[in-house]
């Protein structure tokens, strides 16, 4: 099963990807029916980054980052690396040298269900990473994994070419074939939200704006 590099993957359209980035994780996740979130332990190494890109996936053995080098060759501008270890691992698979190489190929960031290191350098380079932990623990280059195969990363299924959206709220995966539709739904939500926000800021209650009072009463809510 491992030892495979899939070279030609399909990607979503660039404007769809960038549109999803602008919407952000929470909106995109809602827009696709509340699916696709990675585990909440996946946190950014610095606040403020908001990106989207096409997933170049890596299935790697625990403590072995050999396949990251292989994956970097497969990167196109606008891609995001997504690494899932084959068993739980906290090691620091990725640091500033790999980031330099990935960034040189136009990579927008890394999503890794394991550790990352050199986080000060990565922050200065403006190379965002969402990871399970920060760990300087080095890795080896001894065993094959695969690149651009489906992976389960932080509890979510990611296919190569799926759109990854990541910001301060976490990481969400959008299946490539759904990306355009999800973008439309997300943008519709956003348009909708501006109006709601204005009303709420003016003091209108959600209870009234969403007409909840009747249903609450029907369910038996009692005010005492």
């Amino acid at each position: 099963m491992s030892g495979v590099v899939v070279q030609n993957i399909q990607r979503a359209a660039a404007d769809v990807i960038d549109g999803l980035a602008a919407c952000g994780v929470a909106t995109v996740h809602e827009a696709q029916g509340r699916t696709g979130l990675l585990a909440s332990y996946m946190r950014p190494i610095y606040p403020g980054a908001r990106i989207a890109g096409s997933a170049v996936t890596i299935s790697a053995p625990p403590g072995d980052n050999w396949m990251v080098h292989v994956a970097i060759e497969q990167l196109q501008a606008g891609d995001i690396l997504v690494l899932a270890p084959t068993s739980p691992c906290e090691d620091g698979y990725f640091g500033d040298l790999l980031a330099t190489s990935a960034q040189a190929r136009g990579c927008r960031g890394l999503v890794i269900d394991a550790g990352v290191r050199d986080v000060r350098d990565l922050t200065e380079m403006n190379f965002p990473v969402w990871s399970k932990c920060i760990s300087a623990q080095g890795t080896i280059k001894a065993t094959l994994g695969s690149v651009n195969v489906p992976v389960v990363c932080a509890r979510a299924l990611v296919h190569p070419g799926d759109v990854i959206v990541a910001d301060d709220d976490g990481v969400c995966v959008v299946p490539r074939a759904d990306a355009e539709g999800v973008l439309k739904a997300a943008q519709a939500r956003e348009a909708n939200e501006a109006e709601k926000r204005a009303k709420l800021a003016a003091g209108v209650l959600g209870l009234d704006m969403y007409k909840m009072r009747e249903r609450l009463a029907a369910e038996g809510l009692k005010y005492v």
Copy 2:
């Protein structure tokens, strides 16, 4: 047991509340006999906030934020929302729309033993949240909970109207009836601390300042 909204809760005096905020969590917790801390996994979504307010409590089912809308109507200026799910949950019950609504009513922040989302927006809005995690996972509005009933939130018992103090050190709850006394004790500690700090900064040792040497020797401490 659930399905109840208590509308009239008593609150501590505004100046007492603000005095407690100025003292901060560590001092307040010490001043009330080292009680009242919420679990240390409750972390602020951004550094630097230091607030106090009266607790408007929410007991909510897992993954259901309906009661947050109900609770917002109960908010008065200076209040803090305190949400405890009825079983462990990481979902993102609260985002920028709810924060807009809460802030419009003068709410000072949220303490939630679950997830929060839209954290970049909340940061820009200067609406502080202390939460168990950050998660974009959306919630439903299907089942009743209660508002302004006693809850156990992050291992601490909170009654509606209790004073919540929160800063970078975490969250502490002060029973309403004790608030004035705790403030006095906290302010006494603070006055005391300035002098100690000056001595310590000048190089005086705690061993001497607190006269510990004799008791350490009596306990058998050996210098080798």
Copy 3:
């Protein structure tokens, strides 16, 4: 076993210590054969600090910080306090008063496999701490521990006088006797890395720079 304070410990040379700080945790850890890292749950209370210093170790009972006062007297300029509780504990052993005292003696920071508090003050004081958690929970002064004995802190063995290196990637311990050799190896790595970084930034692939293609093929990697 407890109740001992070792007063005369040996330290590494100041320039070696400062050299290790400049290299940082990830490089130092690699340079000593990928050993010495503390657990990845040890996180800095604020980003950006990078320090090294000689370990003054504290073995303390759970929830009892009496020995911190004892340890501070043993500090010399350039030292780092390293506290390991004798059983797992999250309490806040250390706050701004102790930091004031430690800083007055030239202490560069604290590494603690437990909690810390007053983190806003510590940040303003520029006193860095790497800890398991942040907790305002106060401690008592009732039971002896020891100072400057070997401790296991966050899964790593630390002898008094060992060099502690800490930055945004975590914490690493270098045995005192190895410090000079590790520094040389670390500096050699650094020199080496600048050249690699330039090549990678120019688009050279790690696959080629490290001559990995042949070995990957030999292992059976398939491009499809």
Copy 4:
């Protein structure tokens, strides 16, 4: 706040307590509106025990079991010890000697949000314990806590004299004043369950028995 022993606590009637034990945790918890469960990390040290009793509560400092000795004097036949540390702790507060003493006074078991030891002996003695972990780590007797004050134990609020029900499913607390009513509701559920069980065993589907099909269709469930 600490340093208090409340000597006269009220207890529920013995037959109510025993009735609740017979119903078991899951049924009792349902019968009182799905409240009162302690955290699921509270596990029995051996399978098969099912008990109920009146809570004699202990609030103890981390790593200090002095108050257990104090609490044992307060035990009456049929009581259950409930220990909550004042900050998170895994130490082994309780072993075979304390169990011998508690059992001599008719104590039915221990619920402890910390560690327990001598579990082989406790098993042989048929003294059941529900704990957060098993740990041989010894404790000291240096600092006061309190006995028979309200405690938050494993996320649940327990008042002295409340009824504790514990079995292989975990631990549930029933407020003393509610105990009789909860027992009736629990017994009603049980009567009801026998009939349901027979139908289900005979192949009747819950979909039909509970008449769910119409509501599922109304919600939009699609069979494909």
Copy 5:
């Protein structure tokens, strides 16, 4: 995405399924290239069960077990229920009544990335469950999920009809289409293991049996 019940799923041949059960989790997992294991936190509620069956999958909201009733209708003799909540949850979705119903339809067990209750009854019924935790916390029946859609359960991707193998070592999923091939590979391993076991029991070292000494020496292993 949710609200769908897929009624006709394909299953592997019964003798293949039973053959996989006989091999057990560790062997099957090795035989399919060390893939397919669910997270190690999935533990059996009692020791000794070893089963295999076809997955009938359930995607359920947190704290809502309505879809379990729907899924039971889809069960055929020899199936195993596999439940994945749409966000992390510890609630007790499943107890003795549901087990009675499932068992009446020939269901062999449950794999659930959440909680289970009535474990004493389930043990007596000989209905095995592998779960994340044991919790009596009740669930509601308010929101649709789906049955027989692909799910990520405890970090593994499970399609309906895949073969689930479960024993004291945990749970493994075998894609339906691979089941026959994996069985052959697993049986080959087993045949092989008997011979190895005999040699090792007779004192032959793995170093010699697997001819490791030369490669170890080549890697530089030093005996001192």
Copy 6:
């Protein structure tokens, strides 16, 4: 640092080792001043085993069990294998074939800060294991580690030849040089305990037996 096998290690006397086994973990740990316990997450795969033996230590890379084969050759009758991975790992390093080989050389059990598999077989073989988790995840044989070097295992420092004591309460390490003295202290405690147990069983309170009342009163304990 790695790639070393130390062949001649010193062991404690057999009768001392067996004496420590008879005392058990809790008593031994107390007898050596409450030190030496491994983390409480180290649990036995089956209840009832109580062993002691000389540590043959293994430092192994994550997910690589090559060194276990090397270590088995170093085993003498009465030894216990102690494996610490060089970074956190849950993989199943050890199963029934390795246990067969170890048992053939007189090995009494395994202590592993990682995973173990084939636990049903190991139970039938009466080969006890204390581990961090149970996982069928297979490992590779690609990278050197070391045998019989000092390791930090589950937070405790273990030197080769130290005495490991393990039972249902967990695992404790006794430094080889201290073993005889610790045994005497442990046996003294045991003799002492029998008398105490008899008194407590007869209803004497610890408060009286240990003469605690006066000190409690002095500390300010109030009976209300």
